[in-house]
Amino acid sequence: MKFAILINEGPFTHQASDSAYRFTVAALARGYEIYRVFFYNDGVYNSNRFSEPQTDDRNLVSLWAKLGKEHDIDLVVCVAAGLRRGIKDEVLEDGFRISGLGQLVEAGIQADRLVVFGD
């Protein structure tokens, strides 16, 4: 079974990204495929490579990038939501890619389940 994940909020401010991350890790542990993680609304901020939390805090940008690399997960940042918020190639962490909203709809079509995390 294939899962798609939609994240609507940025890191730290809301728990959405944390919950989605732990859900994704658990889904992988259960043997499910993660078809795509799509970052929309403030969710685009999860890909900002300049994010530098305190050393005893989790770094959600790195966590997502690492998880994506280890499990070959497609991490897609919405271009339209990203542009207005200043999330562009100049600040994008390795492992994320910027693309259109069609990637969200396509994920909804291809995946067997879509789970939305937001505020």
């Binding site: 079974m1 609507n8 909203l101 969200l104 709809v105 909804g108 079509i109 939305v116």
Partner: protein, 132 residues
């Protein structure tokens, strides 16, 4: 894995029922606008698209919006484009309208006003529900 096989067998012809749920007022937050942007893109895919407005989401469709004073873009006219994009299943919850003292005549586009009891059944028939 039964769903996957079912999906694969049917190939690209499978049409899923996508529902976009709007529960938030416009302008106070961006969710209304960015949800509309998704729906307009989604309309280009050959899927069964419906849009629901309930709770404060019904306020997105209020007529006579004039945003000049707050300096934001008035996107309420864009709802009229849904019809051009063949998005015709637009539902508004009756109880949410009534609670805000609004009626169908207050809305910028024709919609299907449904009581919660009926909207519940429509929502239960979807394959993908995207809320924002």
């Amino acid at each position: 894995m039964s769903e996957m096989n079912e999906f694969d067998e049917n190939g690209p012809e499978v049409i899923k029922r996508f529902m976009y749920v709007n529960r938030k007022a416009p302008y106070g937050t961006i969710y209304a606008l960015e949800c509309l942007e998704v729906v307009l893109v989604a309309a280009a895919f050959d899927q069964d698209v419906s849009v629901v407005f309930l709770d404060d989401g019904v306020c997105q469709l209020k007529k006579n919006q004039d945003t000049t004073g707050i300096g934001m873009k008035n996107f309420s006219k864009t709802y009229g484009a849904l019809d051009d994009y063949d998005v015709e299943k637009i539902y508004v919850e009756k109880e949410s309208l009534a609670a805000r003292g609004l009626t169908e005549d207050d809305l910028v586009i024709p919609v299907e006003v449904l009581a919660a009891d009926d909207l519940r059944e429509v929502m239960a028939q979807q394959d993908v529900i995207i809320s924002s």
